[in-house]
């Protein structure tokens, strides 16, 4: 116990020494401050553990402390005197008289009186514990926090043993160079985090202390010297953020443009359409609700017409039938054929009213062919001979002749169908009926057209006229008679062009052609 007491005494003594050396500075500043702020005539404050009361020197007095008497008493005790001292304030060029009580009683009313020349100058009753004037906090430090806009402030309380748990602090901070400051009040704790600060800014921080007012009361201490702190710079530079946003926007626009321009393609890939045959069957699904029979019945004529039209688009060409008959032993038959031709001529002349006379003049060899055919019918055995098609075979061109000019016939051929001429039927339907399947098929397609034939006699012996490009030949063979009759079709206009110049020749060689095929 005694050792503890001696330790405590040593501590107190050391503290007192420290305060004596350092406190002088503080004393003057406190006096100066109270001189400004305190309204009482006799101003008192407690520094550390001693009460000091001071008053301002009256003017017109040159003498110092001799004239003043300072007395105090408490708890009904006798008055005690205190030594008056003087202090000259350099800042305000004033002189004050003060008295520091040697043993300050706390927690009891204290009566203080100041006399001058036996006359009471000032009198005041106060409790010493209510006028604590603490020193400023020590070791104020401001540190930058890792977080943005935050500063960590810490300090040490003034050296006062018995009051360290009942102090409150006031922290003031402001941007360097600015007068606008904010204040934070904090109790007991000696550290504080300032929040909501501007990034990358220098701040000044001050701290002061005061008793909390429960057990002890007092004045605010003086502000500490300002300490500078710098807040962390913001993570995201606003310029960089703007650039990033801008670039992002441009990329978005580009991608949108690409998507929009290829949206159909992308849509097809991602969401392919289910193919429907509706475009081929107009109205089938919309009008007839998928009833195919109904749709067919309604659209039959037009459909076929269209299909036929399609066929017409393929340019049905005139059928050119080439006869390949090589009848060397048809002497007798030729005569019969001639007769038949004559009969035909008669008949044909009857039909010339229809305006086909001119046409019939051209192909005298048509009659020859008919005669040949008849001859073949009558003499099947003559067909056993070779009937190979030779280069200079006669050929019959089938086309539909218009009622108008012959010159137009060329154009008409490709515009309309070309049914086979009725020549074969009129001459000898019966004879032909038993013949070639091909011919019969041809008969079925007969219309009212005429048969115009062109002889090839004028091209003996492999002097088949070059027909030019594009000629196509279709060989139609007859297997019914045991012979091979090959018919070729010419699809081109050139046929008819060639016909006309040959027509004259045909007529010339008419007589000769009826003599028989010359090959």
């Amino acid at each position: 116990m005694t050792k503890m007491r001696s330790d405590r005494l040593k501590i107190v003594f050391m503290l007192c020494l420290a305060f004596i050396t350092i406190g002088g500075q503080h004393f003057e500043s406190k006096v100066a401050q109270l001189l400004r702020d305190e309204t009482e005539d006799i101003k008192c404050f407690v520094e550390v553990k001693d009460l000091t009361c001071f008053w301002e020197e009256e003017e017109e007095r040159n003498n110092l402390h001799d004239q003043y008497t300072f007395t105090y008493s408490y708890e009904n005790k006798n008055k005690m005197a205190c030594v008056v001292s003087s202090l000259s304030l350099l800042a305000s060029n004033k002189t004050v008289f003060y008295c520091k009580l040697p043993k300050t009683p706390f927690f009891t009313p204290l009566d203080v009186q100041v006399f001058r020349d036996g006359r009471m100058l000032y009198s005041r009753s106060l409790n010493a514990e209510n006028f604590l004037f603490l020193d400023s906090p020590r070791n104020l430090t401001v540190m930058s926090s890792e977080k943005e806009g935050q500063l960590n402030v810490s300090w040490l309380p003034p050296l006062l043993k018995y009051i360290d748990d009942s102090m409150i602090y006031e922290v003031r901070y402001a941007v360097e160079g600015s007068n606008m400051g904010k204040v934070e009040v904090i109790k007991v704790s000696t550290m504080l985090s300032l929040l909501g600060l501007q990034p990358d800014t220098r701040y000044k921080v001050w701290v002061r202390v005061k008793p909390d007012g429960v057990a002890y009361k007092g004045y605010w201490s003086a502000w500490t010297e300002p300490v500078l702190g710098v807040t962390q710079p913001s993570d995201m530079d606003p310029l960089i953020m703007l650039l990033v946003l801008f670039i992002g926007l441009i990329l978005c626009l580009l991608s949108m443009t690409v998507i929009m321009s290829h949206h159909k393609f992308l849509l097809k890939k991602l969401w392919p359409d289910i193919p429907t045959p509706e475009h081929k069957f107009p109205g089938l699904f919309t009008i007839y609700k998928g009833d195919f029979k109904e749709w067919m019945s309604q659209n039959n004529g037009s459909m076929w017409g269209r299909s036929v039209h399609v066929y017409t688009e393929e340019l049905p060409s005139p059928l050119e039938v080439l006869s390949e008959v090589s009848l060397t032993s048809h002497g007798t038959s030729q005569r019969e054929e001639r007769q038949a031709v004559e009969e035909d001529e008669e008949k044909e002349s009857e039909r010339s009213d229809s305006g086909l006379t001119d046409r019939w003049r051209e192909p005298p060899e048509a009659y020859c062919l008919v005669e040949q055919l008849r001859a073949l019918q009558e003499n099947p055995e003559s067909l056993s001979q070779s009937l190979l098609l030779q280069s200079h075979d006669t050929y019959v061109t089938l086309n539909q002749n218009s009622q108008g000019d012959d010159e137009r016939q060329v154009d008409d051929v490709f515009e309309e169908t070309l049914p086979l001429q009725m020549l074969f039927t009129t001459a000898g339907t019966t004879s032909l009926n038993t013949s070639h399947s091909d011919l019969s098929s041809l008969q079925q397609s007969l219309g009212s057209g005429r048969l115009s034939s062109q002889s090839s006699f004028e091209y003996p012996n492999h002097t088949w006229p070059p027909k030019g490009p594009g000629y196509a030949y279709v060989a139609v063979t007859d297997s019914g008679l045991g012979r091979h009759r090959m018919y070729t079709n010419d699809y081109k206009n050139e046929i008819f062009l060639h016909k006309w110049p040959l027509s004259g020749q045909h007529t010339q060689s008419r007589s000769e052609s009826c003599m028989g095929p010359v090959w």
Partner: protein
């Protein structure tokens, strides 16, 4: 009476324990915030007294403890002696306050005084827990006050001074690091 006091003290202990865990590493009973609460209520009584216009108690003299504290002297006094002085003073205060309350007709003032009395009782319990009062009560000095306002002022000063210093300086309440 003891049962009531015991219950009140236990409640206070719980209260102090709940509040004390947040701040002080000391034992909950050593938390000065309870004493500070009592001090505030004593000061409230002074305020009520100042505003009292009628039925504020007759002029009467009371014997009250001495409240003055000389820090230099006080620190030399043995803590047990301090405890004895404080306990004696608290009992004196209780007697005086009880006498004063009987003479007060103002209901607000009377309730405040009643509150103060119960607070002092709690303090006595706390201090006797922290500082066992073994020695016999010594004859302590006392003073005489002549009015209720002075009595209330003495109460406030006593609580703020000697009682608080004792509680903060009690060995059981000293922090381990100091």
């Amino acid at each position: 009476v003891f049962q009531g006091c015991g219950g009140l003290v236990s409640v206070l202990i719980v209260f102090v324990w709940l509040g004390g865990n947040q701040v002080s590493p000391l034992r909950p009973i050593c938390d000065l915030r309870v004493l500070e609460h009592f001090i505030r209520e004593a000061q409230d009584s002074e305020v009520i007294m100042r505003g009292c216009r009628g039925g504020c108690g007759a002029m009467k003299s009371y014997f009250v403890p001495l409240t003055s504290v000389d820090f230099a002297f006080w620190e030399h006094i043995d803590v047990h002696e301090q405890a004895v002085e404080v306990q004696t003073g608290l009992s004196l205060l209780v007697q005086a306050l009880s006498t004063a309350m009987k003479a007060v007709s103002n209901s607000r003032l009377a309730s405040a005084l009643d509150n103060n009395i119960s607070n002092i009782h709690s303090l006595s319990q706390i201090l006797s827990t922290v500082l066992p009062d073994d020695s016999a009560p010594a004859s302590t000095q006392s003073q005489e006050v002549s009015s209720l306002p002075e009595l209330l002022q003495v109460q406030s000063s006593f609580l703020r001074g000697k009682v608080r210093l004792l509680l903060s300086a009690a060995p059981a309440c000293q922090r381990q690091n100091s």
